[in-house]
C-alpha cells in the first residue's frame, strides 16, 4: 500500500501548482492541497493501480475545488461563449507580470475550459489522463483545449511575451 507521507512528498508541489492556477490564491491553494491529502489518506487502501496515483490525486483535488465553488454559491460559466468578447488587449500596468496576467485570464475562463488548459501546460498529462480526471470524452477535451488556447491567445499575445526577457524575479 502507498504511504501518504511519501505521496505528499512526491506530489505536493505539483498539486499545489494545479490548485494555485485553479483558485488564483495561495491560501486557497494550500487548503485545497491539504484537503486532497486528507481525503487521499482516507481512501488510500482502495487504490489498486499505483501507476495511476497522480491522476487519482489530481482528480480528488479538482472535485474538492468544484465542491468549494458550489458551497460558495459560485455559478460557473458553462461555455466560453458566455464570456464578453474583448477587442482590446488587457492593460498590463507596470509591475504586473506575465504570470499574473495569465492568472487573471484563467480566472475569467469557465472552469470546464480552464482546467484542461492548466492540466495540459502544467503537467505532461495525455488527453486520456485529462479526460479521465474530468470525466468527459477525449474529443471534448481536445475541442475545449483548442478553444481555450484560441481564447487565451487572442488576449495574451504570445508573440510579444516571447520577445520579452525572461522574468527575473520569479522562479
Amino acid at each position: 500500500m502507498a504511504d501518504i507521507t511519501e505521496l505528499a512528498k512526491a506530489h505536493q508541489q505539483s498539486l499545489f501548482r494545479y490548485a494555485f492556477r485553479l483558485t488564483g490564491q495561495t491560501a486557497d491553494a494550500e487548503d485545497l492541497v491539504q484537503e486532497t491529502f486528507l481525503q487521499a489518506n482516507r481512501k488510500i487502501s482502495s487504490v489498486k493501480d499505483l501507476g495511476a496515483i497522480k491522476n487519482w490525486l489530481f482528480t480528488i483535488l479538482r472535485n474538492q475545488h468544484l465542491m468549494n465553488l458550489r458551497q460558495r454559491g459560485n455559478k460557473p460559466l458553462e461555455s466560453i461563449e458566455d464570456l464578453p468578447d474583448c477587442a482590446v488587449q488587457p492593460i498590463r500596468p507596470e509591475g504586473v507580470h506575465d504570470s499574473e496576467l495569465l492568472q487573471q485570464l484563467l480566472m475569467e475562463m469557465p472552469e470546464g475550459y480552464r482546467t484542461p488548459l492548466i492540466l495540459f501546460y502544467l503537467e505532461d498529462f495525455s488527453y486520456r489522463d485529462i479526460s479521465e480526471q474530468m470525466g468527459i470524452p477525449i474529443g471534448t477535451v481536445m475541442s475545449r483545449l483548442a478553444r481555450a488556447k484560441d481564447w487565451i491567445r487572442a488576449r495574451y499575445p504570445v508573440d510579444s511575451i516571447m520577445n520579452q526577457s525572461p522574468i527575473r524575479e520569479e522562479r
Binding site: T5, L38, N41, S99, L102, V158, M162
Partner: protein, 247 residues
C-alpha cells in the same frame, strides 16, 4: 502531405494522444524537412507553447512541507478534538477578554518572495465589477497575510485600484498600491510605511517615486500610529524610478 494537413496534425499534439499513429508523425516530420514555411510556423508555435507552459508552471512555492496526514484522519483523534472544541472556545474567549495582546504577537516573518506574490496576486474578477469595499477588504486580507496589521486610509477610492505589489524603498520591502487617476496616465501611488523602519519626520520629501510629482501626503493609516500611508499623485515617469519593483 499538404501543408494544411501537416499543421492540423501538429496542432492536435499527437504526442499527447497516448495511442498516436506514429506513421502520421513520420509523414509530418518528412513534410517539415521539405517545407520551410511549415518549419518556421512549427518552430514559432513550439516556442509559444513552451513559453505558455513555463508561465503556467511559474507559481510561488508551497509553504507547508510533508505534514502528517495520517494523524489528522485518525478517527479517535478526531473524536478527541471534537470533545476539546468547547474547552478551546472557553479558553479563546478568556484570552480575548483578558489578554488582547496575545493576538498581536508579530507573525513569523514571511519569505520576501512569498510576500511579493501575495501582494501581486490578481484580483478575482466579478460579474458586477469590483466594489470599493471588496477591493479594500481583499487588500486588508493580503496585508494581514504578510504581517502588516493596518487599516487602510478611507480617503482612497478602492474601486480604482490597478494593482498592488511590494517595492523596495531604502532597503526595505514596502507594500505599494497603484490607483488609476481621473484622466489618462494620471496615477496615485500609495506606499505603506512602517514608522519603525522609516524616519517619518523627513517624509515625504526624501522619498523618490516613479511619478512625475514627488509631492506627497502622509495619511495616518493606523490607530497605533505605526503604519503611515504616503500618497503621491502624478503622471508615470519614464526612466528609473526611485522606488523600484524588486520582486
Amino acid at each position: 502531405m499538404q501543408c494544411e494537413t501537416a499543421r492540423f496534425i501538429l496542432e492536435l499534439d499527437l504526442t499527447r494522444m497516448g495511442e498516436a499513429d506514429w506513421r502520421d508523425l513520420d509523414a509530418v516530420e518528412a513534410h517539415l524537412q521539405d517545407c520551410p514555411d511549415c518549419q518556421g510556423w512549427h518552430l514559432q508555435r513550439q516556442a509559444a507553447e513552451n513559453r505558455m507552459a513555463q508561465l503556467m508552471q511559474n507559481v510561488p512555492a508551497i509553504r507547508f512541507k510533508h505534514q502528517n496526514f495520517q494523524r489528522d484522519s485518525h478517527t479517535e483523534g478526531r473524536n478527541w478534538s471534537r470533545r476539546l472544541i468547547p474547552y478551546g472556545l472557553v479558553v479563546a474567549v478568556i484570552l480575548l477578554i483578558f489578554s488582547p495582546m496575545v493576538f498581536r504577537q508579530p507573525a513569523k516573518p514571511l519569505d520576501i518572495e512569498l510576500a511579493a506574490w501575495i501582494m501581486r496576486e490578481g484580483f478575482e474578477s466579478s460579474v458586477d465589477g469590483p466594489t470599493a469595499d471588496s477591493r479594500r477588504l481583499e487588500l486588508e486580507r493580503r496585508f494581514a497575510r504578510i504581517g502588516v496589521t493596518t487599516r487602510l486610509p478611507d480617503a482612497l477610492d478602492y474601486s480604482q485600484l490597478l494593482f498592488s505589489g511590494l517595492v523596495e524603498l531604502q532597503g526595505h520591502a514596502v507594500p505599494q498600491l497603484v490607483f488609476s487617476g481621473s484622466t489618462g496616465d494620471w496615477l496615485t501611488q500609495v506606499l505603506v510605511l512602517d514608522s519603525r523602519k522609516f524616519d517619518l519626520s523627513s517624509l515625504p520629501e526624501s522619498i523618490p517615486t516613479g511619478l512625475t510629482s514627488s509631492e506627497g501626503t502622509l495619511l495616518n493609516a493606523d490607530e497605533s500610529g505605526r503604519f503611515v500611508a504616503l500618497v503621491v499623485d502624478g503622471f508615470r515617469r519614464k526612466g528609473p524610478a526611485g522606488a523600484k519593483a524588486a520582486w
